[in-house]
Symmetry: C2
Amino acid sequence: MSRKIFVSAKEVADRAGVSRSAVSRTFTPGASVSEETRRRVTEAAEALGYHVNHLARGLMRNESGIVCLIVSELDTPYRASLIRALTGQLQSASKIAMLINTDRSDDSVDQALRQAISYRADASIILSGMPDRSITDLCLKSGQRLVLINRDEDRDGALMINLNDRDAARRSFIALLRAGCRNFAFANSEAMTPSLMAREEGFRAAGREHGLEVTVERFGSTTYQSGAVLAQRLLTRETRPDAIFCVNDLLACGLMDAARFQFNLAVPSELCVVGFDDIEQASWTSYNLTTFAQPVDRIAAEAVAWLDQATPAQTNSRRLEADLVWRGSVRGG
Amino acid sequence: MSRKIFVSAKEVADRAGVSRSAVSRTFTPGASVSEETRRRVTEAAEALGYHVNHLARGLMRNESGIVCLIVSELDTPYRASLIRALTGQLQSASKIAMLINTDRSDDSVDQALRQAISYRADASIILSGMPDRSITDLCLKSGQRLVLINRDEDRDGALMINLNDRDAARRSFIALLRAGCRNFAFANSEAMTPSLMAREEGFRAAGREHGLEVTVERFGSTTYQSGAVLAQRLLTRETRPDAIFCVNDLLACGLMDAARFQFNLAVPSELCVVGFDDIEQASWTSYNLTTFAQPVDRIAAEAVAWLDQATPAQTNSRRLEADLVWRGSVRGG
DNA sequence: CTGCTTGTTGCACTCGCTTGCAAAAGTAGG
DNA sequence: CCTACTTTTGCAAGCGAGTGCAACAAGCAG
C-alpha cells in the first residue's frame, strides 16, 4: 500500500493543458500568469484535489515555513496558553508550528534542536530548558532563527524575550507591605531557572530596602504539590509569615489550599498570597489569587514579528512588564 | 541574507572523499556500507554539523514522518494533557507532531486538513471539531491516515477512538444513587458534540431505568464560567438537586465554587458532584472531585500503534473505558 | 587460473517543485 | 505593416536526498 497517491502539479498541468511551470506560477503569489490559464489551472486543481507540496517547495525556496516549539510539561496551564498564542499567531503569519516535547531525557533540548535542523525549520522557539551553546551556534550558523522565552541567558543572534521579574517581585513586596503584612516569605522551587531566581532576588532586595526579613524556602518543582509542601515548611515556623509570594500560580494554589484546609488560615485576613503567571485557575473563586499576568499574547506577537523581519534587527532582546492583577488574596487593593 | 547555509550531503561526501550515495547510505538503516566508509562519513558529518534533510528525504520516500494534531482551545487542561501524551508517544515512534490551532474561523478544521495535505503529513489526528466529509475523503484518498478522538462520527478508513460515555454516565448515576441522592441533575454545555450527548443520554437512561426524574440544563461551552451559570439555574429550582453530573471537570469546578460560595452548600453533604476528564485540578484539595479519567495515555498509545501498522487493520474503531476516580465530592465511596 | 558468490561503490534517475532565460505572443505607436 | 516593448509561456536546470543497477573488488572452492 504505497502512499504515492497525492496528486502532483504534473497531473494538474496535463488536465489543464498547460505546462508544469504554469501550475507552479498559479500558486506562487506575484508570478506572471494570464487570467485565462490561472482559471484553467485552479479549476483543474480543484477537481483533482491538488495541494502544493510544501516539502518540495521548502526544498527549492530554502524556506520551509516550519517553526519548532520546544517545550516540556506542556500541559502546565501557563505553557499551554503560551503555546496556544504562539500557534495562533504563527498561523496568521502563514507559518506552521512543529511541537517538540522534551519531557524525556536531559539532553533532549539539544535533540529537539537537531530535529528542528533536520526539518529545516525556519526558526525554533524555546520555552523550556536551555540547549548547549554548541548546538545553538550550529542553528544560528545554519541560518535558523532562535527565540528564547523567559530563558534569560545570553545567546548572540537569538531573540530573547523576558519579563521584568525583579521589578514585578518588588512591586508585589510593596503591595503586601501596604496590605499591612510584616512577616514576608518567598516560596520557590528548586528549578533555579534565571527568571525564577530573578523574582526571588527582586523580592529579597525589596525586603532589604525596607529593612525587613524575608524567609525563603525552596522545594521541588513549580507544581501544586510542591505548594503544599512549602506551606508545611513555612507555616510551621515559630514566627508564621503573614505574606507569601509564590514564584508561580500553581505553587500558590497548592499553598493556599494547604493553608486553608490544613492550617485553617483564612486568606487574606490571616495570610496574604501573591502568585505569578495569572493562569486561568487563579481567577477561580476558590483561589481568587492576586498575581502577575504573563503577557502571552505580547510575547507571541513579539516573537512572530521578529521572525517576519527579513533581517533581524540589532537589538534582539525584549523585556516586557508583567501586569499586577488585583484579586482577593491580598488585603486592600 | 539567504538561508542556504545548511550543510548538504554533497559537502560531507567531498570532505570524506566518497560518493554522495555513500553518505546517503550511511544514514539509511540497513543499507550496505563498509565500516571504513561509514566511519569516515560520520566523522565528516560530525565535523560539518550535517543533518539529513527530512524535507528531501520525505519527498523521496514519500513519507514525511509528520503527524498533524488538529485542535482548538488547546490550553484546556484535558486537551493539553492529551497533546502532551500524543507528542511524547509520537516522538518515541520517531514521528513528529505538527500542531494546528483551529481557534479562528469555522471552516478551519478543513483548512487545517489542507495544511496537513500540503505538508504531506503521514497522518492527521483530530481532537476538536469535525471536518467536512469531502475533505476527509480527500485525505484518505491521498493515502493520509486519519484519527478521530472522541468525535464519534463514522468515517470509513479512519481510526476512531471513543470512550464508553454512556456506560460511564450510567455508572455515575448508580454511584450517586448509592450515595443516597434522589434529585438528579445533569449539567451540560450547548456544544452538543456526540460524546457529550452520549453522556447525557446515558445519564437520562439510567434515570428512567430507576424511575427517577433527571433535570437537564445546558448552557454555553464546557468552561468554568458556564459551570457557575449552570449552578445558578439548577440550584434555584423549587426542588433543589442533591446530585449533579457535570459533563466535564471544568464545568464541575465552576459549579462547585458557585454552590459553595454563592449558595453556601456543602459538598458532598448537601450536594454531590461528579465530573468527567480527571483534569489535574480535579485532584486539588478545594475540589477533590469524583470524576471519570480520560485514559490519555491509552488513547495516545492506540493512535500511535495504529499509525505504526503497515496496513491499517479492518477493525478501526476503539471504545475505551473511562475509569471512575473516587474522591470526596460524592458521599460514601 | 577460472568461475562464482558476497559485499561495496558510484552512476544516474527520480521525487515535486521553483525560477532564470529565451522564445512566443500580444499591444501600441508610428 | 513594421518595430519596439510588455506580458505570458515553456524549457531545463536545479534543490537534497534515496535507490536500482551494473561495475568492481575480494574471497573462496574447484
